[in-house]
Amino acid sequence: MTDATLNAQSEPRGPRPRRRFSRTNIMLYGTLIVIAMYYALPLYVMIVTSLKGMPEIRIGNVFAPPVEITFQPWVKAWSEACTGINCDGLSRGFSNSVKILIPSVILSIAVASVNGYALANWRFKGSEVFFTILIIGAFIPFQVMLYPLVIILREMGLYGSVWGLVLVHTIFGMPILTLLFRNYFTSIPEELFKAARVDGAGFWRIYFQIMLPMSLPIFVVGMIIQVTGIWNDFLFGVIYTKPEHYPMTVQLNNIVNSVQGIKEYNVNMAATLLTGLVPLTIYFVSGKLFVRGIAAGAVKG
């Protein structure tokens, strides 16, 4: 016998050899690939269609890659598509959405993080009751509150303005965000908070100098939840703002569902992709932090 066969028959040693194409692996990766394709396919169709001209689309081969790549539909969707009498595309909706998004996200996260911090660390009499009421708020359907909110905003003189909508987004983000922050701050060792109190730090100093620097992951999670939620919002945008402040989603709907003329599938696809770009980017950029924050804050009770 040669040395090689001798070695092969000798006692097990070192890492156990693994077969790459074992039955389990084929099953596992096969399933994963099928599911991944199932989710990726619509995106693929949209991208491909948005890069085709209308004649090519009429041929009807949905999955075929474009023969002649054109960016005209994207340009049209962004700056030329008509909604009603305005023909400046989605660009106006985009800037409206940004104007709504930034103050809403900042305001809701600022308020909710302080809420969560107070509920976690500065337990006051009735804080548990307060928290429960807040959480119940998350389970009340939006529809119930739509009209009362219209009246409240009207009385405050905010109805139809961007700030009215910002207020609505802040209110509706409050229960889930407060829960998120409270749970995260509860998971920070209480002794740290006690030590800061012995060191003479007050409510705000502990919040800004001790808690904030330790909570980047949960702030990212809160930001992602709010950015995607507010960006994708349609209902509140239609109800609480005027047409000149309509967010991008409402404008997209108006472009895609316009009844006059032929349906320009490529423009619609491009417009939809443009609208979805912001949440998509957010997910890609912060995916890792998001998962970490969810694991750190949301699961622990």
Binding site: P189, E191, L192, K194, A195, A196, R197, V198, D199, G200, A201, R205, Q209, I210, P213, M214
Partner: protein
Amino acid sequence: MEPSISIKELKLNFGAVEVLKDLNLNIGQGEFLVLLGPSGCGKSTLLNCIAGLLDVTDGQIHIGGKNVTWEEPKDRGIGMVFQSYALYPQMTVRGNLSFGLRNQRMPKAEVNERVDRAAGILQIESLLDRKPGALSGGQRQRVAIGRALVRDVDVFLFDEPLSNLDAKLRSELRVEIKRLHQRLDNTMVYVTHDQIEALTLADRIAVMKGGVIQQLADPQTIYNKPSNLFVAGFIGSPTMSFLDGRLEVENGVAQFKIGNHSINLDGYDGGPLQSLDKAILGLRPEHVTTFGSPQPGTLPATVDIDEPMGSDSLLWLSVEGQQVSVRVAAEHKSTPGEHTHLNCDITKASLFDAATGERL
């Protein structure tokens, strides 16, 4: 002399649970007091009350002659060290040490001076620019002690500061804390469940159970004259052996009877004895000696187990069906089943009333 800390009729309830019950305690200036007890006995709660981190239900707390019952922690003149170190992770060691001083808006030069002095005392000068994450457990605890040190306060509170460290570091830091106390000479209140820490560090130990101080005395008294069965059983490792029996006093001669055997209680360090049907004799392992042959006043016993511990051995014996442990020299070899005779040092023994558990 005015006590440094004075606790008067302190009561604390969590909902319906009474955690501390009418607690009175005076801690002298420069005293090292250890609060010792099993978990859940209220010792950490008491410390948090002294620190002002918990609102009391009733009673008063005086620190340095001032009633601080309603004061904020920072205004009580205390420094506190926590079990989990509780260092601010995003700040450097210097930042951690100076945080409290910066909160007081102290001039920068003085802050630096105090931080450097504390770092010098604790020998952590080389760590000042590191973050807590880059420190070992022992270094972290040193920084935590330093954070109390820079505040220049009269009272130090330690909440199980060594419990998160391994055995070797624990004994090193224990010595360091003792040295620190001798050097600074300020009042220290130290919570622990480790009796070795308590016995080695304390000027006085307060043994607590169920929110009540069971005995408050110096370590020697706690060890040799425990005031009740709980203290006797809690202090000492290996624990005290307890023998059930009868106490008979005739013509001024007190005897402890176990079955047919009796032990003369002449020289017992305690109050006048009276006959009692059910009594308990507590014997520490090192206060019992073994003899190969019967002597006057000895108890016959059988060896159950021999536990060699290096410096000495622990023998587990049975006397009339009851267990007794005896510390013997390491060279002493015994085989299970061997018959032997015990002699007890009555001057260091403890007698308890079986009904009340109190020392007689």
